[in-house]
């Protein structure tokens, strides 16, 4: 077994792409939880919808870039409808209620996807411009995966700017700290919640759209991803966006490096890391005590 940096570096780089998908999913989950204390179990199904919508729009427009734009928008819009017509009715009730609702919703979405798009799954190719490989010096890497890293960084930067540089962002941040005070200032938090839920779902849709050309689209594709993303959220700290980013990248590395040394342990290691982090920091790396209780 080769332990040198030259051997492990390609592994780290590959793990980075996995991490990017975790980050996109976890940040949406964390955003929704942080503001609304809703544990959105339908996140994996929305990730799946993102991949299928990309296939659909690609078939319709014959333009990958347009499909990549439209699919997350479509999933985001769907998220708005979920919040407006389903989740909104459960505010003020036990946090278990939205959890059960979204879990049920994910089952409905998976079965519906099977009815509409079939049980077999669909394949999806990256656009011609990104179909090739890039020689990074230490390894040959798919151009499309570099693109996934780039898109995620751009989206994260945009989200950060939105939350810290705009008035709406200010309200969102304030709302997650003290909803009562924000309401007292005469701000309609219902609209903010709607928007945040839509953005969170849109990010899940984007993760699915980006994953499609690497993994294809199939009905159960979100089932394990949602579990791993929750692990990421818990490790990063429930509700912490910085935590979601750091933990997402960390988990990508855990999978990548474990696969190098002990491929069979890669899946379990994610949970081992979670257990260790929770023992040392019960509220996660960047979590605030009290938020997740």
């Amino acid at each position: 077994m080769d332990f040198s940096l030259a051997a492990v570096l390609p592994q780290i780089f590959t793990g980075l792409v996995l991490g990017m998908l975790f980050v996109l999913l976890a940040i949406g989950l964390s955003l929704i939880f942080g503001l609304m204390t809703v544990v959105n179990f339908s996140h994996g199904a929305l990730y799946m919808l993102g991949a299928y919508f990309t296939v659909f729009f690609l078939g319709y427009t014959r333009n990958f870039w347009l499909a990549l734009l439209l699919a997350p928008l479509m999933v985001g819009t769907f998220g708005l409808l979920i919040e407006r017509f389903l989740i909104r009715r459960l505010y003020g009730r036990s946090p278990d209620d939205p959890l059960l609702l979204t879990f049920g919703l994910s089952l409905v979405l998976i079965e519906t996807a099977k009815i509409i798009w079939g049980k077999i799954g669909l394949t999806l190719d990256p656009p011609r411009e990104l179909a090739g490989t890039v020689n990074l010096g230490f390894m040959i890497f798919p151009a499309y995966r570099l693109f996934v890293i780039a898109v995620t960084i751009v989206v994260l930067f945009g989200l950060w700017a939105f939350l810290t540089r705009t008035n709406v962002g200010l309200i969102i941040r304030a709302g997650s700290r003290d909803p009562l005070m924000v309401r007292a200032l005469g701000i309609n938090l219902n609209r903010i919640w709607l928007l945040v839920f839509g953005i969170g779902c849109g990010l899940a849709g984007l993760a699915g759209a980006l994953a499609g050309p690497m993994r294809g689209a199939y009905a159960e594709m979100g089932v394990t991803m949602v579990i791993e993303s929750f692990v990421v959220v818990v490790v990063g700290g429930m509700g912490s966006l910085l935590g979601a980013v750091v933990a997402g990248i960390l988990m990508g590395q855990v999978v990548g490096i474990t696969t190098y040394f002990a491929p069979k342990a890669a899946e379990i290691m994610v949970f081992v890391v979670m257990a260790v982090v929770l023992l040392v920091r019960p509220s996660g790396i960047f979590g605030e005590a009290g938020l997740a209780e």
Partner: protein, 411 residues
């Protein structure tokens, strides 16, 4: 005094005459009302093997149609009942039990994933129901798992990996890396491939297990890329095969090494497309273009084209043959008793339903059959929608490719 009115007498006579006449006129209709012969077919209709399972569903349906068109089996109509085993052993066992106990299925034909098929076999053994397995597995026809009423229609890892492994070592290169799905069938193939490579004097650079049903292979690939094998041999069944090939190609591995695998499946070639499968080598139990040379293959393809407007696939052929063997066994035994049918099949072991002569080996009820080495046709070289492979070589059926009866625990 007991008397009968004239009207009643005439009515009764008329009804009797009518019934007799009807019996004479429509014997098959009346006979069809007898209990149908029911065959249960548990398959992973959802999940990564869904495309193969759909193919098997069509194959079994064609066989049932063919049997019923001939007037059924011993005058009884044949029915096939499909159940989704969800690729889970516990579900497979539960569905099989339900098929046998509630649906009164007298035969089970099916199973696709090795570990689920073993769970199905536990149920059929317990219920004393004849089982024709259409899954690839070494252990289904070996002691202690097998039984005198368990038959195995499919190829197995020993046969495919010995034949294909030898061919790869002799034609593509002797420095290998193996990537395999971490479950019964994958592990068996890995073991046989390693053994075959050693016998051919080759070098194994590494072997990587991955979880079955995975869509993400990228974390495995850099290490393989760095090791620079001549051939990357993949045991990646079902939908995994497409995800794996896409990712291996996206990392440019098709340019620096040969990609080969013990098996190819037409369902996934169709789904993945010729570009993905161009120059990928594998073996196969059957391919529809064999209809050009094999009469039973032609008949099978024609029936499928007529009913489904597509040719049958490699795994559909297994279930087609399995159901027809149930029909043949029952007719031979003149009984539906599992042991009687099993004995009848062992006594007349030779059959030909879709690929030329096959036979049941007496010790382990394993079907001995020809196989073919094939390669994906690249874009522009395909023929129609389904002409996706070139046949590279034929490997005639021979018991020497499987483990011997002694190796399988029969003395």
């Amino acid at each position: 005094m007991a008397s009968i009115s004239r009207r009643k007498f005439l009515g009764a006579t008329g009804a009797t005459a009518g019934a007799v006449a009807a019996h004479g006129l429509f014997p098959s209709v009346l006979r069809a009302q007898a209990e149908p012969l029911r065959i249960g077919c548990p398959l992973p209709l959802t999940g990564p093997f869904a495309a193969l399972a759909a193919d098997m569903q069509r194959g079994a349906q064609l066989a049932v149609d063919e049997l019923n068109a001939k007037g059924g089996v011993m005058g009884r109509k044949v029915e096939v009942l499909f159940r989704d085993d969800e690729l889970k052993p516990a579900v497979g066992a539960q569905r099989t039990k339900e098929l046998i106990e509630n649906q009164k299925c007298q035969f089970i034909v099916g199973g696709l994933a090795a570990h689920v098929q073993m769970a199905i076999n536990e149920q059929t053994k317990k219920a004393k129901v004849l089982f024709i397995s259409t899954s690839q597995s070494d252990e289904i026809s070996a002691k202690p798992d097998t039984s005198p009423i368990t038959f195995h229609e499919a190829l197995n890892p020993t046969i495919t990996s010995r034949v294909m492994g030898t061919w790869i070592a002799q034609n593509l290169g002797k420095k290998w890396w193996i990537i395999y799905a971490d479950y019964a069938w994958g592990k068996q193939n890995n073991a046989v491939l390693q053994d075959t490579l050693k016998k051919q004097g080759g070098t194994l650079l590494g072997a990587t297990p991955y979880p079955l049903g995975s869509a993400e292979f990228s974390a495995h690939l850099p290490k393989i890329q760095a090791a620079k094998p001549d051939v990357l041999v993949s045991v990646t069944p079902g939908a995994d095969n497409i995800a794996y090939l896409k990712q291996a190609r996206s990392f440019g591995m098709d340019k620096t090494m040969k990609l080969a695998q013990p098996l190819l499946w037409i369902s996934y070639l169709k789904e993945g497309g010729p570009e993905l499968y161009s120059d990928i080598y594998g073996s196969i139990n059957w391919y529809w273009e064999l209809q050009d040379t094999i009469p039973s293959a032609k008949k099978f393809v024609e029936a499928s084209m007529k009913k489904f407007n597509m040719p049958p696939g490699d795994y559909g052929a297994y279930s087609y043959s399995g159901v027809l063997e149930v029909g043949r066994g029952v007719e031979l035994a003149k009984s539906t008793d599992a042991e009687a049918v099993a004995n009848a099949l062992r006594k007349s072991p030779v059959y030909d339903h879709f690929k030329g002569k096959e036979w049941w080996r007496a010790c382990d009820n394993k079907a001995m059959q020809d196989m073919w080495i094939v390669k994906g046709r690249g874009p522009g070289k395909t023929k129609g929608d389904w002409g996706l492979m070139d046949i590279v070589a034929k490997v005639a059926a021979d018991e020497k490719y499987d483990r011997t009866c002694a190796e399988k625990g029969f003395v």
